[in-house]
């Protein structure tokens, strides 16, 4: 009968974070978030494109870094958010958790795509190749992209939201072993790609003139991620309400 206790515990949990409260809260947050996103990204772009010096080695191509690196960070963070939300959804059956995981996927996939694309655009002048199959970081990043696509495909294919949520959560968790592989690929394998220079144990090793635009863009992208996540979660909650309304109209649920 452990299952029974579980359910009532979960239901108690629902009371604290129900979708209605989320809708009210997120509605108030959206505008300020959007404004802040625009501000930070705008400033970041100014520094990235105009107010920062070219690299002494890489020349002007270094400017690609200001989109590439934040995209790569968010690609990974997106999956991280998805994985954590999935764990919460599986363990606590929190109704917002799987909405959050589902909504994070397309955003994360978009950033992954951007990281791959800008990386290729950077690689062409720097490494003399668009793509390198032998490089663990590039390959694990591509795998991440496939994981995102598979995750979204799974959601799209299973019709019942409850079932889809649980299956997708299992996939997200199993796939999360790829994250450390991406992060440490540069350490474990001998790669073309350079090792971490910002988030290191011993502090960043990057010039402050580059750190500023990178930081601004990173913050801007993160805020963009959060804002979009909120919008998509709201849309998802509405989608479920539409579904319930349709089903209720089809009859059956009439006897509530």
């Amino acid at each position: 009968m452990a299952g029974m206790n579980m359910i009532s515990a979960a239901q108690r949990f629902h009371a604290y974070a129900n979708p209605a409260r989320f809708m009210a809260l997120s509605a108030r947050l959206l505008m300020p978030l959007a404004a802040l996103t625009a501000l930070l990204t705008g400033a970041g772009l100014w520094f990235a494109l105009a107010a920062s010096p070219p690299d002494y080695q890489q020349g002007e191509t270094v400017r690609i870094m200001y989109v590439h690196v934040p995209s790569a960070w968010l690609a990974m963070m997106g999956y991280g958010v998805m994985a954590v939300a999935s764990a919460v959804a599986l363990i606590f059956r929190h109704p917002l958790a799987d909405v959050c995981a589902k909504s994070a996927a397309p955003i994360g996939a978009a950033f992954t795509f951007l990281a791959l694309l800008t990386g290729s655009l950077w690689g062409a002048p720097m490494w003399g190749t668009w793509w390198e199959w032998g490089d663990a970081r590039l390959v694990s990043m591509l795998v991440l992209f496939f994981l995102y696509l598979g995750y979204m495909a799974l959601w799209a294919t299973i019709e019942e939201p409850v079932r889809a949520a649980r299956a997708a959560a299992v996939l997200a968790l199993v796939g999360s072993i790829n994250l450390p592989v991406i992060r440490y690929s540069v350490v474990w394998w001998n790669t073309l790609h350079q090792p971490a220079s910002v988030f290191r144990m011993d502090g960043p090793t990057i010039a402050p003139s580059m750190l500023l635009p990178l930081g601004l863009m990173g913050a801007g992208f993160t805020l963009l991620f959060v804002t979009l996540l909120l919008v998509r979660m709201r849309a998802e909650i509405l989608r479920r309400r539409v579904r319930n309304l349709r089903l209720a109209q089809a009859g059956g649920a009439g006897e509530v």
Binding site: A20, V67, L117, W122, L238, N244, Q249
Partner: protein
């Protein structure tokens, strides 16, 4: 200005990177908002079409307070 767009000879790499980022961001933002609006419209029409009884049921089942 021309020098700015020239990007030290790497314009072909730098601008597409920023262009793609812009494109992806705009597409994502546009799609998210359009989806939200579409769902909101649907909820409105469905709720108008349905009686109060059904609306209560739907709220109940999406775990919301009937507000």
């Amino acid at each position: 200005m021309a020098e700015f767009f020239h990007m030290g000879g790497y314009a072909l790499f730098v601008w597409p990177a920023y262009g793609a980022a812009l494109l992806v961001a705009v597409a994502l933002i546009w799609q998210s908002i359009a989806d939200y609006r579409a769902q909101a419209r649907l909820v409105e029409t469905l709720e108008k079409a349905a009686g109060g009884r059904v609306r209560r049921a739907a709220h109940r089942q999406s775990g919301e307070d009937p507000s």
